[in-house]
């Protein structure tokens, strides 16, 4: 082998060594830069299913975590799994900060808290009313990667905390699972509740020209007890309105429906109508809302157009006999349109005048359409007083009158 060949070979070997060195450096840097050293075995985690956050008068946080108890879950074989029913334990932690409160729970259990499968996050109204506490909550959620942002966010009256973990939970055995199940069903079938993920709340609370909302949970006395002696139920009707990340007040089920209609969140909801001429129940579907926001002489002029379809589920007419007559159809449509219009107006005025919160996000729409005008006229003022609801047009058409099939009776 001559000298030049030996030199070439040594150069090639050098290149190979350099290449491997670079690969190892890349892996090494990636490993430590992305923090890939904190793996936890599944057997060492404690899965939280729901979390409740409270703040007392002394400025101390109280966190209650519902942790899934997996001690009876078996070894994965079907015969032992078949009778397995999930249980939970409730752990309470206190501290001057949220992190401290949660750490105190971690200290009580022998496993690592695993919050990314948390279903529900509930905050008491007395904590929600404290702007600083809510900001700390948002900050904690954004910074902490052990707790994800997907759980539904609800506000609860702080007097109902004790009752919360004794409520009827349907066919589930965990509060978090139960609420998650109800939310998924009600999102499709009812517009009387507002269901917001924590992330949506965080985004809205940071959005310019938009105030955040959260769901509302209230504990109501049940008519009868279940087999476990539970006599309380959860009501999900209504919503919790915020302004500048501070809880302002609860709104009713009708307000929640109006909120869902205005934001195009409504899938399907039932409207009940009763007056001297008719009694009707209709399913409101295919709702499409268009909101047009314009600047007009220093004010924010708002035009709202709502269209939708009605499917009549129940109808009783006191005077008319021919229910499919065109005139009657129009009359029913007009009556429902009037009803929806009244409901929406009521909500809009309540939000603007009583709660003083832009939960629909008119300011955000204005800013998106005309940022310069928004910055000039509305950014530095409380623009709610400058909002003018110019027109609210409702156009509902009956898609199905629900004619009776006489042959079936």
């Amino acid at each position: 082998m001559d000298t030049s060949t030996i030199f070439k070979n040594s150069m090639n070997n050098g290149k190979i060594i350099l290449r491997f060195l670079l690969i190892f450096i890349t892996i090494f840097i990636s490993c430590f830069a992305f923090g890939c050293t904190g793996g936890v075995e599944p057997r060492n985690i404690a899965i939280t299913n729901s979390a409740l956050y409270d703040l007392d008068g002394n400025g101390n946080y109280h966190v209650l975590l519902e942790i899934i108890d997996l001690t009876n879950s078996g070894d994965g074989r079907s015969d032992e799994q078949s009778n397995y029913k999930r249980n939970s334990i409730i752990k309470r932690g206190d501290g001057a900060t949220l992190a401290q409160a949660i750490t105190s729970i971690s200290d009580q259990i022998d496993k690592t808290l695993f919050g990314t499968h948390n279903r529900v996050r509930i905050i008491t109204d007395r904590m929600a009313k404290n702007k600083q506490a809510m900001q700390e909550f948002v900050d904690f959620m954004i910074r902490n990667d052990e707790f994800d942002e997907r759980p539904w966010l609800f506000i609860i009256n702080h007097e109902d905390i004790e009752k919360l973990f004794t409520v009827f939970v349907g066919l589930e055995s965990l509060i978090g699972e139960y609420i998650d199940g109800v939310v998924k069903t009600r999102k499709l079938n009812s517009g009387c509740g507002v269901f917001v993920e924590t992330l949506k709340y965080i985004i809205d609370s940071m959005e310019i020209g938009q105030d955040a909302v959260a769901g509302r949970i209230s504990i109501i006395q049940s008519d009868d007890e279940d087999q476990n002696g539970r006599k309380f139920e959860i009501s999900f009707d209504g919503l919790s309105a915020f302004k500048d990340n501070k809880f302002m007040n609860y709104l009713t089920a009708d307000d929640a429906l109006a909120y869902n209609i205005l934001n195009n969140y409504l899938k399907r909801s039932r409207l009940n109508l009763r007056n001297s001429d008719l009694k009707a129940t209709a399913e409101l579907t295919n709702v499409n809302t268009k909101i047009l926001v314009k600047e007009n002489n220093g004010s924010m002029r708002i035009d709202i157009n709502i269209s939708g379809k009605l499917r009549i589920a129940e109808l009783e007419i006191f005077n008319e006999t021919n229910i499919s007559s065109k005139k009657l159809k129009v009359e029913i449509e007009n009556t429902f349109e009037e009803m929806v219009k009244t409901m929406i107006e009521k909500t809009l005025f309540k939000a603007r005048d009583e709660i003083n919160s832009d939960i629909i996000g008119f300011g955000r729409r204005m800013r998106m359409l005309n940022p310069a005008v928004y910055d000039l006229l509305f950014a530095n003022t409380d623009y709610l007083s400058l909002m003018v609801f110019n027109s609210i047009n409702i156009d509902l058409s009956i898609a199905n009158l629900g004619d009776l099939d006489i042959s079936r009776y």
């Binding site: 690969i23 890349t26 892996i27 990636s30 490993c31 992305f34 890939c36 904190g38 793996g39 936890v40 075995e41 599944p42 057997r43 985690i45 899965i47 899934i68 997996l70 879950s73 078996g74 070894d75 994965g76 074989r77 799994q81 397995y84 999930r86 695993f114 990314t116 499968h117 994800d148």
Partner: protein, 470 residues
């Protein structure tokens, strides 16, 4: 008498010379045969020639010649002459029958030896399609191909490799379809191989590939003549090695590993479905153990809570981390595969059953490994059998991804994917990158298989009049 004695001494000397050239083994037969006027020396390897043919068509006619025999015209076989004793010996070692007569070396091709019958290859079983497989005999293999490809454009060139073994290598290709550069490169590389012996095409494969340390060679493998013909029609080159039923196909793109002959015999949609299944199987066999460990160690939020609960319940009482469990099971699997392959079929299946029982049931019941880990490794094992040609590649990368998943989580899997794709992208097969889809019609026959009417070799076949115009 003196002349006769001196003649005998000369013949004895020649016999010694020939035996020396042939290696003087017990199976080397050198005999003096007396004719009417003269004597000849016959030389052959015992068991290599057809003795009946030798007696009937060569020795008996020569004995019946009254005058001085003329070997070429007095025998009933085609005769060839060797220049010297060394060429004479070399030809005899390849199975020819030799006669020495009056300073001339004559050779007769009356080769006949015991060989395996044509059987269905174990590794490429099909439910539909030809069952024939290649054998260890080169000529039988060329006949199997030629029977399916009756075209004058189909050429088989011959090369001898191995200073000692002198193994016959056939280079098959279709003129006009195969890339001339690839053919000439293969020939050149084969001629440059300087080795004592070649007993299997695997050795040639390693001499031909550009990156001996790569996990994929860019050279395909088949044991079935119908697949070999399909590859030829795709413009590829075959390398047939005497003594092995494994035929090499060059160049082999990575995507070709996912194709089987059966794909072409099924309907289009089912053929495509089978290929998709193979791709899924390939991905599972490489990634599943690593991904499972990465997810259950670093990214448990990706799993549904009910599944996570099942896993927690299953691993709660096992002593080792999941990565150790899976590593243990994969090593067990490889041991079982290896022992099952080496042992006789009857004992091999018994080993598999015992192994399956130990891993699948006893290990779980003893609480050494968890049921989900067994399920993961079982699924991986089943998937890995789908593409036997990529077995080496998937086995090695399975361990790599398991390690990366255990130490770096999903990020590690990502790094591994980059490394794997880079490795694959850097490999070419005689100038064709194995990840390329170079041919203009290749999209039509990759993961998705279009009807034959749209494919390239249909056009070739149509030109040659093998099928009627439709």
């Amino acid at each position: 008498m003196i002349n006769g004695a001196s003649n005998n001494i000369a013949l004895d000397k020649k016999i010694d010379e020939i035996r020396k050239a042939l290696g003087d083994s017990f199976d080397v037969v050198t005999e003096t045969v007396s004719l009417v006027h003269d004597q000849i020396i016959t030389a052959y390897i015992d068991g290599f020639i057809d003795r009946d043919l030798m007696n009937r068509d060569i020795i008996t006619p020569l004995k019946n010649v009254i005058f001085e025999p003329i070997i070429e015209s007095n025998t009933n076989c085609i005769t060839k002459k060797a220049l010297d004793v060394y060429e004479f010996a070399n030809e005899i070692l390849t199975g020819q029958f030799g006669i020495y007569y009056k300073n001339e070396y004559f050779l007769f091709d009356i080769r006949k030896w015991e060989k395996r019958a044509i059987q269905t290859p174990d590794a490429e079983n099909v439910t539909r399609g030809p069952k024939e497989g290649f054998t260890e005999d080169l000529i039988t293999n060329t006949v199997l191909i030629r029977r399916r490809l009756k075209s004058p454009e189909f050429i088989i060139d011959q090369v001898k490799i191995g200073n000692k073994t002198k193994t016959l290598i056939g280079i098959g290709y279709i003129k006009g379809l195969a890339d001339c550069d690839v053919v000439s490169q293969i020939k050149l590389k084969l001629q440059l191989i300087d080795v004592d012996g070649v007993t299997e095409s695997g050795k040639i494969e390693q001499y031909l590939e550009r990156k001996p340390l790569g996990l994929v060679s860019g050279i395909g493998l088949t044991q079935k003549p119908d697949i070999a013909v399909t590859r030829l029609l795709e413009g590829k080159v075959l390398i047939l090695c005497d003594g092995t039923p494994h035929v090499l196909t060059i160049p082999e793109l990575f995507i070709d590993n996912f194709k089987t002959a059966e794909d072409y015999y099924h309907r289009v949609f089912f053929g495509t479905f089978l290929r998709l299944m193979r791709v899924i199987g390939f991905l599972i066999s490489i990634f599943l153990p690593g991904l499972a460990v990465a997810i259950t160690t670093y990214n448990m939020e990706m799993l549904p809570v009910s599944y996570l609960e099942t896993i927690i319940g299953a691993v709660a009482n096992t002593p080792f981390p999941q990565v150790i469990e899976i590593l243990f099971l994969i090593i067990m699997l490889e041991l079982l595969k290896e022992s099952g392959t080496r042992l006789p079929k009857t004992i091999g299946s018994a080993v598999s059953i015992v192994g399956a029982l130990i891993i699948g049931d006893a290990a779980v019941r003893a609480g050494i490994v968890s049921a989900p880990s067994v399920m993961i490794v079982a699924l991986t094992a089943v998937s890995s059998f789908i593409i036997p040609n990529l077995n080496e590649f998937t086995t090695i990368f399975r361990f790599v991804f398991l390690g990366l998943g255990a130490f770096l989580g999903i990020l590690g899997i990502g790094i591994g994917v980059v490394f794997m794709v880079t490795q694959l992208a850097s490999i070419d097969s005689f100038g064709v990158p194995i990840l390329s889809l170079k041919s203009k019609n290749i999209w039509r026959d990759t993961i998705f298989r279009v009807p034959f009417k749209k494919q390239k070799y249909y056009e070739f076949a149509k030109q040659d009049g093998y099928i009627n115009d439709i």
